[in-house]
């Protein structure tokens, strides 16, 4: 398959270069726009030579949208989702691959089905649950007449309530509970030789010990890959944070970017909006750059 001729080399590089330009051009334009002043950014066509107001715009964007705490919020949420996903996926995959128990396949398919029900599809019921986590239990008790019984016997009216709106747990938990990571881990665990499991059993290691001492260290690359993907995915969440955070103290950086977009009738301050975009883009970029090596290793099969 690998042919090397100068002409072919030239064309492959040309194609790569065109692709690269397509990918990078929007970012370059954003960066250039962020360096113009109000007048230059609204010129038609906009000058593609960088202006001189870059740092001024960055500072303005930072203060106008109050990005400091928002970035922190975003970071907490994205980190929480990534960590939660990594842990939950590893545990569920461990259970599915290494244990034989009744209902195992049922569990497997239940988890599988969540792949077909992303958050956007079940957003209304999820919102209802987050608004009062105990609501389903209340409903069960009401339906079975249990709450009626308790009220008759003790005179206490049962009304369970635990709201997670405007909280980090409310932001994080619904995003953690999906199946993608479970499958990544499952595929990896299936490649771990059975003899390793048996050797650990002969060495006296119980299930949890095996998981912590053998499986987790072996799946470091997978963890890095999954963690990176999930961090980016959670960072870029828009609909869910928008829906459940009404309180400014829990607002996310990505949703708050809206504040920088010029309103109808306001000054067309696109340079500020672009500067804000650059700031919000930066943390995921740093994460990808830092994790890149592990990330790639985790996604391309196992090392020998």
């Amino acid at each position: 398959m690998v042919e090397r001729t100068p002409i072919l080399n030239f064309f492959t590089h040309l194609i790569l270069f065109v692709g690269f330009v397509f990918c990078v051009a929007p970012f370059v334009i954003v960066a250039i726009a962020a360096s113009h002043n109000l007048k230059d950014v609204n010129d038609v066509p906009m000058s593609l030579l960088p202006g001189s107001d870059f740092w001024v715009n960055i500072r303005t964007a930072w203060t106008t949208a109050d990005l400091g705490p928002k970035l922190l919020n975003s970071f907490i949420m994205a980190f929480g989702v990534a960590a939660g996903k990594v842990i939950i996926s590893a545990l569920t995959a461990f259970s599915i691959v290494y244990f034989r128990y009744p209902g195992r396949m049922l569990m497997f398919w239940l988890i599988f089905i969540t792949l077909m029900l992303p958050l956007e599809v079940r957003i209304v019921p999820t919102y209802a649950v987050v608004a009062n986590v105990l609501e389903p239990y209340q409903a069960i008790m009401d339906l079975t007449g249990l709450s009626w019984l308790i009220e008759k016997v003790s005179g206490v009216q049962v009304s369970l309530s635990l709201g997670l709106l405007n909280s980090y747990s409310g932001l994080i938990l619904p995003l953690v509970a999906t199946a993608t990571g479970t499958f990544l881990y499952r595929q990896f665990f299936l490649t771990v030789p059975d003899e390793l499991t048996e050797a650990a059993r002969m060495d006296g290691a119980g299930a949890l010990r095996f998981f912590v001492d053998i499986l987790l260290p072996l799946s470091r690359n997978n963890m890095a890959a999954l963690g990176t993907i999930m961090f980016l995915w959670a960072w870029n969440q828009y609909l869910w944070p928008l829906l459940i955070t009404t309180d400014q103290s829990h607002a996310m950086a990505v949703t708050e970017l809206k504040q920088l977009i010029p309103n109808v009738g306001g000054a067309p301050e696109w340079h500020i909006a672009m500067a804000g975009t650059l700031i919000v883009m930066l943390p995921p970029l740093i994460v990808v750059v830092l994790m890149q090596r592990w990330f790639v290793r985790g996604l391309i099969a196992t090392e020998k």
């Binding site: 030789p193 390793l196 050797a199 650990a200 059993r201 002969m202 060495d203 006296g204 010990r209 053998i214």
Partner: protein
């Protein structure tokens, strides 16, 4: 040091039975080799002793304690796996010391015991390496160190040498033997390689199709195979088998072209039997020598120390191993001679050994 008693052990996978009732006793300190072709249930039996496979029926007792329901770690067995099964992310020292770590042995004592084991196995200079940076033989030694450090009552070996090259295999074989002499722990070694089995075993268990065919010292198994399977499985080239039928005055062989004067007791006329003779027990003589069978040479294999001669005996393939120089060319006729005492008789129906014949040398029918 522990004895193992296996009583009526069976193993079923769903509806198929792979081990059909095995009864065995291994004495304390004995080196037992279980030999058999792949799929004969030998590894399954070993894994049942280890506790890695559930026992479907029967009992296994180690030192008088029935261990059916015990976890592997509670049985006092250590196992060496075919693919070594070293933990790839741990150094050699960590690999060897892992079972002690799990058992909660303090790290100072652990390091000391790892050192001691490493010294015995000559692994001291490799303790910080990862398994990936080791050669096959070194990995094998680490796997043995991991088993040794627990000072187990029983060592279990699951074809541990089959991934090594021929030279290393011979070397590891003698190392295992030396190690056993030194530790004198009861050892059970599973293999499909008869040379390994013959050289290592105090006692040899030959299995086939989920059943034990024969138990005995390697010499016994070689010289008095209990069944046709054992006769052809142990020894290379395999024992020659000539099909025959019991007649009134003896045995008719090779579809009637030869007959063998045997006296028999308790075998009915017309019964089918197989007569076996080891290639090493056959002598080649000049064609026409009185009492010799004439055969045509097909192929001569040079073995260095000897020669394997494949001949055609009235259409049946027959092999001879001789240490003498063979002057015959393929296609030429030679004479074959053997002693009555070297003949083995097996029932063609059950494959079992028949000791009811007294044989004399076969004569050509005139």
């Amino acid at each position: 040091m522990a004895s193992i008693a296996i009583r009526g052990v069976k193993k079923n996978y769903a509806k198929t039975q792979v081990v059909h009732g095995v009864d065995l006793d291994f004495a304390s300190g004995e080196f037992v080799v279980i030999l058999g072709p792949s799929g004969c249930g030998k590894s399954t039996l070993l894994r049942m002793i280890a506790g890695l496979e559930e026992i479907s029926d029967g009992t296994i007792a180690i030192d008088g304690t029935v261990v059916n329901k015990l976890e592997p770690r509670e049985r006092g067995c250590a196992m060496v796996f075919q693919n070594y099964a070293l933990y790839p992310h741990m150094s050699v020292a960590q690999n060897i010391g892992y079972s002690l770590k799990v058992a909660g042995v303090p790290s100072a004592e652990r390091a000391q015991r790892v050192q001691a084991v490493a010294r015995v196995l000559e692994l001291e200079h490799l303790l910080d390496r990862k398994p990936m940076a080791l050669s096959g033989g070194q990995r094998q030694r680490v796997a043995m160190g991991r088993a040794m450090i627990r000072e187990p009552k029983v060592f279990l070996f699951d074809e541990p040498l089959s991934n090594l090259d021929a030279k290393l295999r011979v070397q590891m074989r003698s190392e295992i033997r030396k190690l056993h002499r030194r530790l004198s722990a009861t050892s059970v070694f599973v293999t499909h390689d008869q040379v390994e089995a013959m050289t290592l075993a105090d006692r040899l268990v030959v299995m086939n199709g989920g059943r034990v065919e024969q138990v005995g010292t390697p010499a016994e198994v070689y010289s008095r195979p209990a069944s046709r399977f054992v006769a052809t499985f142990v020894g290379a080239p395999a024992m020659n088998m000539l099909e025959g039928t019991v007649t009134l005055d003896g045995l008719s062989l090779l579809g009637g072209s030869r007959k063998l004067n045997v006296s028999r007791t308790g075998v009915p006329v017309g019964a089918k039997v197989a007569v076996g003779i080891r290639p090493e027990a056959v002598r080649m003589v000049a064609p026409g020598t009185p009492g010799a069978l004439a055969a045509t040479v097909d192929l001569i294999e040079e073995l260095g120390a000897g020669r394997a001669v494949y001949v055609d005996l009235d259409g049946a393939p027959f092999s001879v191993v001789t240490s003498e120089i063979v002057h015959s060319e393929p296609g030429s006729t030679i004479g074959l001679q053997f002693a009555e005492a070297d003949l083995h008789f097996f029932s063609s129906e059950t494959g079992g050994r028949l000791d009811v014949f007294k044989a004399s040398v076969p004569e050509p029918v005139l």
